[in-house]
Assembly symmetry: C2
Homo-oligomer: 98 residues x 2
DNA sequence: AAAAACTACAACTAAATAGGAGTTTTTATT
DNA sequence: AATAAAAACTCCTATTTAGTTGTAGTTTTT
């Protein structure tokens, strides 16, 4: 019936991921991490002047979307950009933007 | 500050567009139009068994996102796929899907 | 026990959807 | 020319859904 199958779930997934990234706080986190190798949660929520729980929530979203990675060292968890994730993101934008 | 500028508006725009496409009724409309050259609004809302106003609304969304085009002939408005729009859409998905 | 981060929950906000009613545009009829 | 009918569009409202924030409580490590 359909020449080329359009997978609604795939589209929904990508749309959701892009929209998840497109949030003021999360864009700020990404920007900060482009200049610094890695940051722990305390540093991030202090710099952004938001609640700890809020920072944790946003960080988790970015990590689940494959934008960030984290490693635990002692009591702290350090977040950093996942290699190539930004390049992929920009490539995605270039392909999709008409 | 940011090595590569991330345009939040661009991301939001693409996310919104993809999400607009990812709707059951609109996917059905796209699928139907992949098999038929063009269809008028009455045919579409009858086939999908939805309200006329609803069909009009969904068609307008798809047109505004550059997926469909329309032409008026007499009392009817005929909708069809905008050339290359589906190819672009699928290319977009391939680039963004990880 | 204390520090750091995560998780869960509830309240609030914003966006999307569907339905009904009314409006515009075009054609047909008298 | 006036009116009616068909087709599609627009507007408004109610409902639903998704996302955000904040508080409180829990887990993990020192």
């Amino acid at each position: 019936m359909i020449k080329q199958e359009i997978d609604i779930r795939k589209i929904e997934d990508i749309a959701q991921r892009l929209r998840a990234i497109a949030h003021p706080v999360r864009i700020k986190i990404i920007s900060m991490l482009e200049n610094t190798d890695e940051m722990n949660v305390t540093t991030i929520f202090n710099k952004l002047e938001i609640e700890q729980a809020s920072a944790s929530h946003h960080l988790n979203i970015l990590k689940s979307k494959g934008i960030l990675q984290s490693r635990r060292q002692g009591k702290s968890t350090y977040y950093s950009l996942k290699p190539n994730s930004i390049a992929n993101l920009l490539g995605c934008i270039n392909t999709c933007a008409k």
